[in-house]
C-alpha cells in the first residue's frame, strides 16, 4: 500500500512540474491579445531603396502569433528579377550531432570526427521561389542520401543560408580507444567560417532528416518585384519567437521580422527533443506498452523506443537516454522484492553485473555516433531476434520444460517466503 502512495506522489509531482514548465501558472497577458491586423513593417524597407545595387528586400507578415503552427502570409518587394529566399528559424535551440565516418574524397581515409552544436535552431526552414518545386521533388527522390548543401546550391540558396551557419560547431576526433573508454575524443580547434557553414548544413540534415522539413518552394514572384509566400508552420514545433528574413543574396537581406508560436496544455515542449507533444500521447503509449511488457515478461523498452522515434520527430539519442531511466524504478523494486525473500544470488548478479556496468559505460557513447536510419535498421534486427526468442518460448517443447521449471520455482519461492516470514516472526 505504501508503494502505491509513493507512486501517486511521484505522478502528482510529475504532473505539477509539467504544468509549471508549460507556464500554466504563469501570467499570460499576451495570450489573449488579438494579433494586430496590420503587417509588421521591416525597417530595412527605406534603407533598401536608396542603394539599388544591393537593395535589400522588404518583408511583412500578416500575423505575429500562431497557436501550435498555422499559416503566415509573407509579402514584400525585392529588386525586380531577383529571386527571394525566406529563411525562417526558431529562437529555441536544440543539440545536433553527426559522426563523420565517410571516406574523404581527397585523402581516402575515414576522418572519424564527431561534429556537434548545441545551438541548432529547433526549427529551420528555407522557403525558395516556386519555380524550384521540381528540383525539390527530385531531391526528395534521392531518399535518405540527399545532401542539404547540394540542395541549397541547386535552388540557388547557398549564398543566403545563414542562421545555422552562424552557430559554432564543435568537433571531436574520435579514436577507437576513446570510444572504448567512452570519451567523445579530443576537441579539435574551431573551424573557419566557411568550414563551419558546411558542417552546419550537415547538422541541419542530421537534425531535421528530410528535405520537406527544411526546404519548401512557396515564394511566388511577381514581375513588378513584389513577392508573396504562404508559409505553413507545422504543428508540434518549439514554442517561442521565430524569425523570418528575406534575402536575395549574401548581403541584400531584410531585417528579421518575428512571430510567436504558442502552445498550450496539453501540449508540452520537450526542450531536449526540440518537439512539442500532446503529453497524453506518450503517456498512454507508455502505459499500454508497460502493461504489455509485464504480461509478456519483457521490458517495454524494445517496443517503446522504435515507436517513439517513428511517431514523433524526436532524436534517437534523447529517446534512448530518457526511456532507460524510466525502467530503473521497476527494476529496483523487483530486486527489493526478490531480496526480501533472499531469492537473488548476489554473487552471480554482481559478477555479471560488473561486466554489464562496463558495457553500459560504452553504449550511450555509441548512440550519438549512429544516424537515426542506422538506429532503426539495427533495432529492426534486434526485434527480429527478440521475436525469434519469443516464438521459441511458445513452442510445445519449451512450454513443457517451462511448466516444470515454474513448478519448481513456485516451490522454491514458497520455501523462501516461509523462511522470510519465520524470520520476521522471531
Amino acid at each position: 500500500m505504501k508503494r502505491s502512495w509513493l507512486s501517486l506522489a511521484v505522478a502528482m509531482t510529475a504532473a505539477f512540474v509539467i504544468l509549471w514548465q508549460n507556464g500554466a501558472f504563469a501570467e499570460k497577458p499576451a495570450q489573449h491579445a488579438p494579433a494586430p491586423k496590420a503587417g509588421v513593417q521591416s525597417p530595412a524597407q527605406g534603407a533598401g531603396k536608396s542603394q539599388p545595387p544591393a537593395a535589400a528586400p522588404t518583408v511583412q507578415i500578416d500575423k505575429t502569433a500562431l497557436d501550435n503552427g498555422g499559416t503566415i502570409v509573407v509579402t514584400g518587394t525585392a529588386p525586380v528579377g531577383k529571386p527571394v529566399y525566406l529563411e525562417v528559424w526558431a529562437e529555441k535551440t536544440v543539440r545536433a550531432s553527426r559522426f563523420d565516418a565517410d571516406v574523404d574524397k581527397d585523402t581516402g581515409k575515414r576522418p572519424y570526427i564527431l561534429y556537434m552544436t548545441h545551438d541548432m535552431p529547433a526549427y529551420y526552414k528555407m522557403f525558395v521561389p516556386k519555380e524550384h518545386k521540381e528540383t525539390l521533388v527530385k531531391i526528395k527522390q534521392e531518399g535518405g542520401k540527399w545532401s542539404f548543401s547540394k540542395a541549397l546550391k541547386d535552388v540557388g540558396a547557398d549564398a543566403v543560408y545563414s542562421a545555422p551557419a552562424a552557430k559554432a560547431v564543435d568537433r571531436y576526433q574520435a579514436t577507437l580507444m576513446g570510444s572504448i573508454i567512452g570519451s567523445r575524443g579530443a576537441p579539435l580547434s574551431s573551424m573557419d567560417e566557411k568550414e563551419n557553414a558546411k558542417r552546419s548544413m550537415q547538422l541541419v540534415k542530421a537534425r531535421f532528416r528530410s528535405v520537406d522539413k527544411v526546404m519548401s518552394a512557396d515564394v511566388e514572384m511577381h514581375p513588378n518585384g513584389t513577392y508573396r509566400a504562404e508559409i505553413k508552420i507545422r504543428a508540434g514545433l518549439a514554442p517561442g519567437k521565430y524569425n523570418i528574413v528575406a534575402a536575395v543574396d549574401k548581403t541584400a537581406k531584410s531585417q528579421p521580422v518575428t512571430f510567436e508560436n504558442r502552445i498550450a496544455f496539453p501540449l508540452v515542449y520537450l526542450s531536449n527533443g526540440g518537439t512539442s507533444v500532446n503529453l497524453f500521447g506518450p503517456f498512454f503509449l507508455t502505459l499500454a506498452i508497460a502493461i504489455f511488457g509485464v504480461l509478456m515478461g519483457a521490458g517495454g523498452g524494445f517496443i517503446m523506443n522504435p515507436l517513439l522515434v517513428s511517431i514523433w520527430p524526436l532524436p534517437h539519442t534523447v529517446v534512448a537516454g530518457t526511456v532507460m531511466p524510466t525502467v530503473l524504478f521497476s527494476q529496483g523494486s523487483g530486486i527489493y522484492n526478490y531480496s526480501k525473500i533472499k531469492f537473488i544470488s548476489w554473487k552471480l548478479g554482481v559478477a555479471i553485473g560488473l561486466a554489464m556496468v562496463a558495457g553500459g559505460f560504452i553504449g550511450p557513447k555509441l548512440t550519438e555516433m549512429i544516424t537515426l536510419a542506422q538506429f532503426k535498421f539495427v533495432f529492426g534486427w534486434i526485434l527480429l531476434v527478440l521475436a525469434g526468442l519469443m516464438f521459441w518460448q511458445t513452442t510445445p517443447g519449451y512450454l513443457e520444460k517451462n511448466k516444470k521449471e515454474q513448478d519448481i520455482m513456485k516451490q522454491f519461492k514458497k520455501q523462501a517466503e516461509d523462511a522470510a516470514k519465520a524470520k520476521k516472526g522471531n
Binding site: S7, A14, V17, I18, R95, L270, N272, P282, F284, I289, I291, V294, L295, M296, G297, A298, G299, G301, I303, M304, P306, V318, A320, G321, M324, P325, V327, F329, S330, Q331, Y338, F343, I344, S345, K347, L348, G349, V350, I352, A355, M356, V357, G359, G360, I362, G363, P364, T367, F377, G380, I382, L383, L389, M390, F391, L399, N402, E405, I408, A416
Partner: protein, 129 residues
C-alpha cells in the same frame, strides 16, 4: 564459478556469462532498452542455470547496466526531463495494472501476439513496407 542457491550448487562458466553480459549491455544501453529478454536466455541456455536462480539474479545484473547507462546518457545530454516525467508515472501505473490483467490471461497467448507485433514493427523499421 560456483553459485550456491537455496542448498543447491551450480558450476557455471563465468567468463561466458561476463562476455555475454558485456555485449548485451553495450547494445541495450546504446539503444536504450533493459535487456532482460536477452539476459534470461543467456543465463538459462548459455550458463545452464534453472529459471528460479535466473529471475532475480538477471534483474540484479541488468540493474547495474541500466544505472550506468542512465548516468552516461545523462552525461551526454540525452535526457529530457519533461519527457521522462510524462513516461515515468505511466510506466509505474502500468506496473500496477498489469498483474491484475495477468491473472486472467495466458502468458503464451501474450507471447504469440508479441511475436506477431514484433515482426511487424521490425519489418517496418527495416523499411520492408
Amino acid at each position: 564459478m560456483i553459485v550456491h542457491f537455496w542448498g543447491h550448487e551450480f558450476k557455471i562458466n563465468i567468463v561466458l556469462g561476463c562476455i555475454g553480459g558485456f555485449l548485451i549491455a553495450v547494445v541495450s544501453s546504446m539503444f536504450g532498452f533493459g535487456g532482460g529478454p536477452f539476459m534470461v536466455p543467456l543465463m538459462t541456455v548459455g550458463l545452464g542455470l534453472p529459471m528460479y536462480v535466473v529471475v532475480g539474479s538477471s534483474l540484479l545484473a541488468i540493474f547495474f547496466n541500466t544505472l550506468m547507462g542512465t548516468m552516461r546518457h545523462y552525461q551526454f545530454g540525452n535526457f529530457d526531463l519533461v519527457f521522462f516525467l510524462i513516461m515515468f508515472p505511466a510506466a509505474i501505473l502500468g506496473g500496477y495494472i498489469a498483474p491484475q490483467i495477468a491473472k486472467r490471461i495466458s502468458p503464451t497467448t501474450v507471447k504469440r501476439v508479441a511475436v506477431a507485433g514484433l515482426v511487424i514493427l521490425a519489418l517496418n523499421l527495416l523499411g520492408v513496407y
